[in-house]
């Protein structure tokens, strides 16, 4: 069984739940930007939640199936067309050998997840099939899929099509999207006025938004607390002695445009960070398009953990609803 790539879309990559354990060497965890959507797509086609599928950003690919399969598309809202006939999102649907799956224009969100019964079966690299393009690792030759690629699909038992995830379990982002942030790291490096301004201002997603990180603009520049530059840090007030970056951490080079690091994060560098987007809201970032408005909302660790546990309950709810 294989998927033949007729058109790859804008940037479609093979992703799973990532490769933990190599961040100390600069190799990030990677994997689906919107983890919950990837898990859901896999559940709907009877796969292990950690199976590999496709992550398509802004535009869907065009794929031809060599054998029968069950397919589900989750995440972004995008018309799903099987031989021209529209299929429901967040629902497993049957595909016959020779049929062609393609997509219409994106309506909402940014990334669609395509799972196929059996899962994409390219060779794992460091324990994961996720594509880390910067390091040419995983996926197909470490790159996005291209026209003419044949994507191998693993064996699967008979999967009943028709499973669906109810709308109340799907996450809809509000406008502006609220991203909850635990302040910390080098938060003390900016003035109290700048701290308040960061949370008061409305930011917009900048065009530089990808798997490594999302840049934001539109808020006021952050003023720094005066200091004498520590040895080895560099002279700019936003410089630190190169250190590690947490996933979700918010660095602000020069104090102007915040960058939130995502699944393909650089593991470290010389820019100070003012806090970290909490784990429960990382998926939301993966569904943001450029120019969309965003508010950063300050939370405590207690609230962050509560939000995390709420997300786990939603995931558990999905599993239970599919029996």
């Amino acid at each position: 069984m294989a998927l033949k790539v007729i058109q790859p879309g804008l940037l479609t990559t093979i992703q799973d739940l990532g490769r933990p354990g190599y961040f100390h060497l600069g190799i990030p965890i990677g994997g689906a930007m919107d983890r919950m959507a990837m898990r859901a797509a896999n559940m709907l086609v009877g796969n292990d939640e950690a199976a590999a599928g496709l992550e398509a950003v802004f535009m869907g690919p065009e794929l031809e199936f060599s054998s029968d399969a069950t397919v589900a598309v989750t995440g972004a809202e995008i018309p799903i067309l099987l031989d021209g006939e529209e299929q429901p999102g967040w629902t497993g649907f049957p595909v016959k050998a020779g049929q062609i799956l393609k997509f219409g224009f994106l309506k909402a969100g940014a990334r669609a997840y395509i799972a196929v019964s059996g899962g994409i079966d390219t060779p794992p690299a460091l324990g994961s099939r996720s594509t880390y393009a910067i390091g040419a690792l995983g996926g197909i030759e470490g790159r996005a899929i291209a026209s003419g690629d044949e994507l191998p699909v693993g064996a699967s038992g008979r999967v009943e099509a028709g499973a669906t995830i109810s709308e109340k379990l799907r996450r809809m982002s509000s406008s502006p999207t609220e991203l909850r942030v635990l302040p910390g790291l080098y938060w003390h490096r900016i003035t109290e006025t700048a701290q308040a301004g960061f949370f008061d201002d409305e930011w917009k997603v900048a065009p530089e938004a990808d798997r490594m990180g999302y840049r934001f603009r539109g808020g006021k520049p952050l003023d720094f607390v005066e200091r004498e530059a520590p040895f080895g840090a560099g002279s700019d007030p936003s410089n630190i002695v190169d250190g590690c970056y947490p996933y979700g951490s918010i660095q602000v080079p020069g104090g102007t445009e915040p960058i939130v690091l995502h699944r393909d994060a650089v593991s470290g560098g010389g820019y100070f960070m003012i806090g970290t987007v909490i784990s429960a809201d990382m998926d939301l970032i993966g569904q943001l398009q450029p120019h969309m408005p965003v508010k950063f909302v300050e939370v405590s660790m207690e609230q962050a953990l509560k939000a995390r546990s709420d997300r786990s309950k939603v995931l558990q709810g999905m599993r239970e609803s599919l029996g």
Binding site: L182, L185, G232, G234, P246, Y247, G270
Partner: protein
């Protein structure tokens, strides 16, 4: 040195051992991260040592953030008294300084540089008080370097020169980062040298290029067959200046699978180093040259 702990969201603890760079801070960070690894704490998913700081990623569903923090604080006091000595290796890395490829790239991004009319090497030489780029290049390769962090992208080493602070070379990063850097560029920012393991964006000044791959996801390079990343924190590096002919020769050897980096096993003791820097470096070089 004052250790500062901070949570990076609900999944990370960031620990700044010191605000400024020093080998003492590095060794303390290495000692604590080593102890975390030895303890095999349930819920710890990533242990990342850095130059003068480190980071632990954990699963808060398995270990609570406060418990994780307390575990680290317990290890800090033990690290104070632990020996600052490691068994490591010294590796000779050939560098073609002032090469045509980084030169082409730095000219392309001149408007992002502090000195749009010069080159990165000329600028670095001038602000560090050298009369010429040649003098600066000599200072760059005449004493060995210590890999104090691996990261940014795949297997990229940050290196700190094994000399006293007065002799450290310092340069700022580009005013605005470049969108391109040739693969295997030898770069410089702050007090750190680096080798860009892959082609891509970068903000460090560019001085030269090495023909020796240090990251190979396909693991075809002879000395990267066991693992795709060459460097680890604690490695010691000696740059060896080479010319175009030698660069081409090494490239051919790498292609043919016959290139082996010149390497020797050494012990590095921070106290001995601090007591006699030139003597320690001489011994390191004797070990390398005897290899």
């Amino acid at each position: 040195m004052k250790t500062r702990y901070s949570f990076g969201g609900d999944e990370h603890i960031f620990v700044e051992v010191d605000e400024e760079m020093s080998l003492d801070a590095f060794f303390k960070s290495l000692s604590i991260t080593g102890a975390v690894a030895d303890l095999n704490i349930n819920g710890v998913t990533e242990i990342c040592p850095a130059n003068a700081s480190f980071q632990i990623k954990f699963d808060p569903d398995v270990i609570s953030p406060d418990d994780m923090l307390n575990e680290l604080k317990k290890l800090e006091s033990a690290a104070e008294s632990s020996e600052k000595r490691i068994a490591t290796r010294i590796v000779e890395i050939p560098v073609f300084y002032n090469d045509p490829w980084t030169h082409e790239t730095l000219m392309r991004f001149r408007e992002r540089h502090q000195d749009p009319d010069g080159t990165d090497l000329d600028y670095a030489a001038r602000i560090n008080g050298f009369d010429s780029a040649e003098g600066f290049i000599e200072a760059h390769h005449s004493n060995p370097w210590f890999v104090s962090m691996v990261g940014f992208v795949s297997g990229l080493p940050f290196l700190y020169q094994l000399v006293e602070r007065e002799r450290q070379l310092q340069v700022p990063k580009y005013l605005r980062p470049r969108t391109d850097t040739p693969k295997l560029t030898v770069g410089y920012g702050g007090c750190f040298s680096c080798i860009y393991s892959v082609r891509g964006a970068g903000g460090y000044q560019m001085f030269g290029i090495t023909p020796m791959p240090i990251y190979d996801p396909e693991q075809k390079v002879s000395y990267l067959k066991d693992f795709m990343v060459f460097f680890k924190p604690g490695d010691i590096v000696k740059w060896k200046p080479i010319d175009r002919a030698e660069y081409d020769r090494i490239l051919e050897q790498v292609e043919a699978g016959t290139y082996e980096p010149k390497t020797a096993k050494v012990d590095f003791d921070l106290e001995a180093f601090n007591a006699d820097i030139d003597g320690t470096n001489r011994k390191l070089m004797e070990a390398l040259n005897g290899a």
